[in-house]
C-alpha cells in the first residue's frame, strides 16, 4: 500500500514536471516571423526576463567605444579632407565693431527635399541672441553685409555628415570634437565629449 502511494506521488511529480516543461516551451515560442538566424534575438526580446539582458547589452558598450571613436575623428582639419564629408550646419559668432553677431547656416527639411537656411542674430549686452533675419535658399542682405565685415571670431561650431550614406555625424565646437553619432565599423555610437 505504502509502495503504491509512493508510486502515485512519483507519477504526479513527473506529470507536473512534464506539464511545466510544455508550458515553458509554449511560452518561449516566437510568435512572429523572423529572418533565419535572428530568432534568438526576437524571441528573447519578447520575454521580459530576457529584456534586462538585452537592455544592458545594448546600453553598456557605447561608452567604451567612444574613446576609440574620438581618436579617429578628433582633428577637424582631417575630417574636412574626408571625401564623403558634408557640412550640415555652421554657427559663427563674430564681434564686429563692438556688436556681436551670430551667423547660422543649416539645412531645413522640406516635404521632398532639404533647403539651406541662413539666419542672423544680434546679441544684446547680456549676450542674449535676437534673431534679426531668416533667409531660405540664399544668404539674406544683412547676413551678406555683416559676413563681409572684418571682425573677431569668438566662437565657431560645425556639424558634418560623413560616409556614403552620410550616417556618421561629427560635431565640433571651436575645433574640438564634441559629439559622434552613428555607425563606425558596424558599431553604433552616441558619444558626447
Amino acid at each position: 500500500m505504502k509502495k503504491n502511494k509512493k508510486k502515485i506521488l512519483g507519477f504526479l511529480i513527473l506529470g507536473i514536471l512534464i506539464l511545466a516543461r510544455i508550458i515553458i516551451h509554449m511560452e518561449s515560442k516566437p510568435e512572429i516571423d523572423v529572418i533565419p538566424g535572428t530568432m534568438k534575438m526576437v524571441s528573447a526580446y519578447e520575454k521580459d526576463e530576457s529584456r534586462a539582458q538585452i537592455d544592458s547589452r545594448v546600453i553598456t558598450p557605447f561608452t567604451s567605444q567612444c574613446g576609440d571613436a574620438q581618436k579617429l575623428y578628433s582633428d577637424i582639419n582631417e575630417v574636412k579632407k574626408i571625401k564623403s564629408v558634408s557640412s550640415r550646419f555652421v554657427n559663427t559668432h563674430k564681434n564686429i565693431d563692438g556688436v556681436i553677431y551670430r551667423f547660422r547656416f543649416f539645412y531645413k527639411e522640406t516635404s521632398e527635399n532639404e533647403v539651406p537656411q541662413y539666419l542672423l542674430y544680434q546679441e544684446d549686452d547680456q549676450e542674449e541672441d535676437h534673431l534679426i533675419e531668416v533667409s531660405p535658399y540664399i544668404k539674406g542682405t544683412k547676413f551678406t553685409k555683416f559676413e563681409k565685415k572684418n571682425g573677431i571670431t569668438l566662437y565657431s561650431e560645425e556639424g558634418f555628415n560623413v560616409g556614403l550614406d552620410q550616417n556618421l555625424f561629427l560635431h565640433f565646437e571651436n575645433g574640438q570634437l564634441k559629439k559622434i553619432q552613428g555607425p563606425i565599423d558596424g558599431k553604433f555610437h552616441d558619444c558626447a565629449y
Binding site: 510568435e31 512572429i32 516571423d33 523572423v34 529572418i35 535572428t38 534575438m41 526576437v42 526580446y45 519578447e46 529584456r51 537592455d55 545594448v58 546600453i59 557605447f62 561608452t63 567612444c66 550640415r88 550646419f89 554657427n91 559663427t92 559668432h93 551670430r102 547660422r104 543649416f106 531645413k108 527639411e109 522640406t110 516635404s111 521632398e112 527635399n113 532639404e114 533647403v115 539666419l119 542674430y121 544684446d124 547680456q126 549676450e127 542674449e128 541672441d129 535676437h130 534673431l131 531668416v134 569668438l154 566662437y155 561650431e157 556639424g159 550614406d165 550616417n167 555625424f169 560635431h171 565646437e173 564634441k178 559629439k179 553619432q181 552613428g182 555607425p183 553604433f188 552616441d190 558626447a192
Partner: protein, 415 residues
Amino acid sequence: MKHVLIVLSLALTFSSINIQAAVWEDTQSWSLEYEQKFSAWMQSPAVKENMFTFVSSPYYGINTDCADTAYALRAIFAFENKLPFAITNPSGSREASKSLNNRTNKFDGAGPENKRLVALITEIGSSVGTENLTRFDTFPTAIKKIAPGTIFTYKIKARFKKFIRHAYNIKDINPVGTFDVIYSTQANQEKRGELLRRREREFENAPSDPWGFRKFRWPEHLASNLESIPQELGPSMEQFELATSLGENAFFTMVRKTVATSSESTGERLNRLFKSVCQEAQARIGYVNEAIAYLEKSNNECMDYQKFDAFSTPARDAALKEMFLKFKQSYSEARQTQSGDAVILSYAESVYSNKGDKTELQKACPVNYRAGVSIDLGTLWNRISNDLLSSHPNDIIEARWGEVTKRLTKCKRWY
C-alpha cells in the same frame, strides 16, 4: 508739478522697459511621473489637429512643419505644467547661452505668457529641423518604452544625392500596435493648415542610427551621454541593432507586436490596410490639386526650386506604392491562411489581378482625381506599378495620375 509729472512718466517708461520676464516660470522638475503625464496629455483631446489654427485656442498662430511640431507639443506641455523646457541653442552654445529655454527674456515684446510661448516656438521653427531634433534634443529609446509622445524620425535618400527627413509624433498606440500620429509638413506649414493626423500608421524606413524612435531629453541631459539619462526612461541603441539584424519588415513586425495590447488577425490586418491604401490614394488628390491650383494662378510657369520643392510628390508617391505593397503582402498571407473578410479579399483580388468586375471596388474607394474621372484602386495600382504616375508639379493633371504618358512638361526637374 509739471516737472514732477515728467520725471514720474519717464520713470514709469524706463521701469516698463526694464521689466524682464521669462517665457514662463518653471516651478516643477521633470520626473517619470511627468513623462507619464506627457504621454497622457498626448493621448488626450487637448492634442488635436486644430490646436494651432482654432482662433480661440491659446496657441493660435503657431505654424509648424514636421520637426517644429514635435518641439511645439513638448514646449506647450512644459508650459502648462510649469516645467522647464530647453533645447540645444540653435545659434551656438557659447558661454551663458548653452540652451534656448523658457527662462529667456528675449520674447518680452511678444505680450502675455502664451504669446511669448508662440514667439519661442516660432523662433525654434526658423532655427532648427529634424537634424537638431534627432541629433541634439532627443535620445533613442528602447522599443518597449515607446509611448504616446515618442517621436519617430527618419532620413531617406532622395534623387541627386539629396535626403528627405521627417518626424512623426506618436499621439497614441492602437491596441493592435499601429500608431496614431499627429504631424505637419513643410507644404502644410506653407498653407497654414491644421496639423495632419493618421490614425492607423505603420512606419516604413527602419531605424538607422540616430534616426528612429526617440524621446525628448530633459534640460539637464542636453549634450550628455546616454548613460546620464535615467534607465527608467529607456535610453537604448537596441533599435539600430535590431533593425540591422532583422531587416525592415521583420523589425516593424516586432515593434508592432511589442507595443500591441491585443493581437490582430490576418483578416483584420487586411481590412486595416485596405482602408489605409484607400486613404492615402485619396489624399494624393489633395496634394496634386494644390500644384494644379498653383499652376492656374501662375499661368503654367515653370516652377523654381522652391515651388518645385513644395508641390512635387516623389517621396509621397513612393510611400503610396509601399502601402500598396503591404496590402498585397497581407492579401497573400490571408490567402495562404484562408482567412479574411470575403469582401475585402475580393477587393484585393480586383486590385492585384486586375480582372473581374470592379464596380464594388470602385464604390468602396473611388479615386475621383478630376472632374468626371474616377478610377478604382486596381487601375491606380496598375499605373503605379508601371511607373506611370508623374511626381513633377508642372505636369498636367492627366499626366500626374498616369492617364496619359505624352504631353509631359519640359520644365526642369530640380531633383
